[in-house]
């Protein structure tokens, strides 16, 4: 099967060979082998994807070392880390990075917790489970852009739903997205609304893949339902949590669409600027291509720092 076996076989032939194996036989075998025959299947998509993703990343990296600002062609003769230095010294970059971090941690942890709660709620023998699951997951079918519109209206300082409730309770109405101190929390809340269903589905699949006799064994062991979940079932969802957390974090890093769509402008509500919006703004609004590319590179490194441990974890689990 494997190609390297072919070479090994010829290197270490010990016993006397009854038949002389010529290089032609081996070449024919190699050309007939599954490896050669199956390579076009993965090869073509791989090349297309490789150019788009890795070619793109490489080109982006190259531009980030120049001072290209949209005039003529990028000048590659004089490369430097100037753009990175500028970014790290820039207050708005640092603020965006900090807000990005808050969004990442807040959004991921709340979505996971809520998703787990919902999964346990649905897992424990109820009627119309399928329908309820479908409704909980419904926001996932919407685009960021649509979600942004819906929540823009929900948060509307005039008579948005949130303020209808708040004023009904006797408080003054709040400008949720206009107040820089709560805008980020409001964004996180809206994103949680959209994505906790996703976490729920992943946890639910994890719960259902557990053999039912685990529940029964715990029951016979004398444990109550709550104890069974806490001590037996939830600890076994580690794999599912890691998978869901990674995907959620990457959503958080990519939350550009949502923030753009709220204002319909390059600049999101005050207090919610993140690296993704900053990058697009610098590159596409101000034409600071090299600076934008440098921010994009740092965003990529941030993503890789999430993915790399995940891939190592998956590899250790033998899941690759």
């Amino acid at each position: 099967m494997a190609t390297h076996d072919t070479t090994e076989a010829t290197d270490s032939t010990t016993g006397p060979s009854k038949e002389v194996v010529t290089w032609k036989t081996k070449l024919r075998y190699f050309l007939n082998s599954d490896f050669v025959r199956s390579s076009p299947y993965w090869g073509i998509p791989f090349v297309l994807m490789g150019i788009a993703v890795y070619g793109g990343i490489g080109y982006n990296l190259a531009i980030s070392f120049t001072d290209y600002a949209g005039i003529g062609r990028p000048e590659f003769s004089n490369l430097s880390l100037e753009m990175y230095r500028t970014a790290l010294a820039d207050g708005s970059f640092r603020q965006a990075a900090f807000q990005n971090f808050v969004l990442l941690v807040g959004f991921t942890s709340v979505s996971l917790a809520l998703g787990l709660f919902l999964a346990v709620l649905l897992d424990y023998g109820i009627r119309y489970k399928e329908t309820i699951q479908t409704i909980y997951l419904l926001p996932m079918a919407l685009s960021f852009v649509v979600t942004a519109q819906v929540w823009l209206w929900m948060y509307s300082p005039g008579n948005g739903v949130l303020n209808v409730f708040v004023t009904a309770l006797g408080f003054g109405s709040i400008d949720w997205l206009g107040n820089p101190r709560i805008a980020l929390a409001a964004v996180i809340f809206a994103l949680v609304w959209q994505f906790s269903g996703y976490a729920m589905v992943v946890f639910l699949a994890g719960l259902q893949s557990l053999p039912s006799d685990q529940f029964e064994a715990a029951k016979v062991d004398g444990a109550s339902t709550a104890k069974t979940y806490i001590r037996i079932i939830i600890p076994q969802l580690k794999q599912a949590s890691v998978g869901a957390a990674v995907v959620l974090m990457l959503f958080a890093l990519k939350a550009f669409d949502f923030l753009y769509a709220i204002t319909g402008d390059y600049r999101p509500p005050n207090g919610t600027d993140i690296l993704a919006t900053l990058m697009v703004r610098e590159a596409f609004q101000y034409g600071q291509w090299a600076y934008g590319a440098a921010i994009a590179t740092m965003l990529l490194l941030l993503s890789l720092s999430v993915i790399a441990p995940y891939l190592v974890y998956q590899y250790r689990q033998g899941a690759l």
């Binding site: 715990a218 029951k219 016979v220 004398g222 109550s224």
Partner: protein, 381 residues
């Protein structure tokens, strides 16, 4: 220590209009310290019965009592039973120690150090003390089996329930664990109910066997009782490997006439049977004698089709001359095979060893006569 009784227990699954009776009017009595094996083909209701005893299924009708106390409405958590699952159902994220302590932590008031001590003691008894800090995924099938047993034993329950605990082991290990489980049960003296579809396990392990088929109890008795004195055709065919040979026929004059042979019955035997009654003749493979050809009323000529040597015994497939191509019967002989495929031989069905069953109801009319030696008292009450 407990005595378990099932009284007309029925389990019915209703799904809208559909209703399936999984277990019907099963009554059982398991004495204190007894080892009862529930055996039957898959889908016969044996696992459902066990799960009702465990409290994992509700009971549609009837009553289950433990030491004369009804446990119908006692939740599984409070029944003081331990169960070994077919898949072992070990908690994969806990160490062996964690697995074994869990039940004690949840169902007793023991202190942590008492629990640790009990767990270690039991682990020592099961020979798994070296494995206490490992996780189930790192253990072999046989070791997981031991841990599952250890987890059940450590709680010192009133009742042990085991649901095909050996079915995931290979043949050698299964035979080994079979003996070990018996040793263990004798040592602990805990009342046990053991479910299996494997008649060998039932025969070799049980103090009592309860044979189930299609949700109804066919027979309860000691292993040898079920083997030698089956109540009906089902039990006769299910217990014993290779299976009992059956020949369908009817009583004509003084003989049982089947497609391929006329088996003369002694007057004693046919006195109570009406002529023309459909009968089934049964004979165990080891009770057939093979000889040189010389046919009379209970000896018949046959041809050897296949000989399967097993070393200590041989399974010989034979066919009567008039029988159809697929209609074979089986004889086992000991030692080195003396016949080979294609040989013509005589077989003798001695009247002492044949069974007769009613062709319609399958109920046993006559069982073989027994000629035990040694100390057979109690194996057949």
């Amino acid at each position: 220590m407990a005595r378990l009784a099932l009284d007309d227990v029925t389990k019915e699954y209703r799904d809208g209009e559909m209703s399936v009776v999984a277990v019907e009017d099963v009554s059982l009595d398991v004495a204190d310290g007894e080892f009862l094996v529930l055996v039957g083909p898959s889908g016969c209701g044996k696992s459902t019965t066990l799960r009702m005893i465990a409290g994992l299924e509700t009971i549609t009708d009837g009553e289950i009592t433990l030491d004369d106390r009804s446990i119908n409405d006692v939740p599984a958590q409070e029944r003081d039973i331990a169960m070994v699952f077919q898949s072992y159902a070990l908690y994969p994220h806990k160490t062996v120690r964690g697995n074994m302590s869990f039940g004690l932590e949840e169902s007793t008031e023991l202190s942590d150090s008492d629990i640790a001590e009990t767990v270690e003691e039991t682990a020592g008894m099961m020979g798994i003390e070296d494995l206490l800090n490992r996780k189930p995924g790192e253990l072999s099938g046989g070791q997981q089996q031991r841990v599952a047993l250890g987890r059940a034993i450590v709680r010192d329950p009133d009742l042990f329930l085991m649901d095909e605990p050996l079915s995931n082991l290979d043949a050698k290990l299964r035979a080994e664990m079979r003996t070990e489980l018996q040793h263990l049960q004798e040592q602990l003296g805990v009342t046990s109910v053991y479910v299996t579809h494997d008649q060998t396990e039932a025969m070799t392990m049980g103090d009592q066997i309860a044979v189930l088929n299609e949700g109804t109890l066919q027979q309860t008795g000691t292993p040898l009782e079920c083997y030698h004195q089956p109540n009906n055709l089902f039990v006769a065919g299910f217990i014993g490997e290779p299976s009992m040979n059956f020949f369908d026929g009817s009583l004509e004059e003084n003989a049982l006439v089947t497609e391929s042979l006329a088996y003369s019955l002694s007057p004693d035997l046919r006195r109570d049977i009406e002529a023309g009654t459909d009968l089934v003749l049964g004979i165990r493979p080891e009770d057939v004698r093979i000889d040189e050809p010389r046919t009379d009323g209970q000896r018949f000529a046959a041809e050897v089709i296949v000989v399967e040597p097993m070393g200590n015994e041989n399974v010989i497939h034979l066919r009567f001359d008039d029988a159809m191509a697929g209609d074979e019967f089986i004889v086992t002989t000991e030692g080195v095979p003396t016949v080979s495929a294609g040989d013509r031989v005589d077989v003798e069905f001695s009247e002492a060893v044949v069974h007769l069953f009613d062709g319609d109801s399958g109920v046993a009319i006559k069982n073989r006569t027994l000629s035990f030696s040694g100390t057979p008292d109690e194996v057949i009450p």
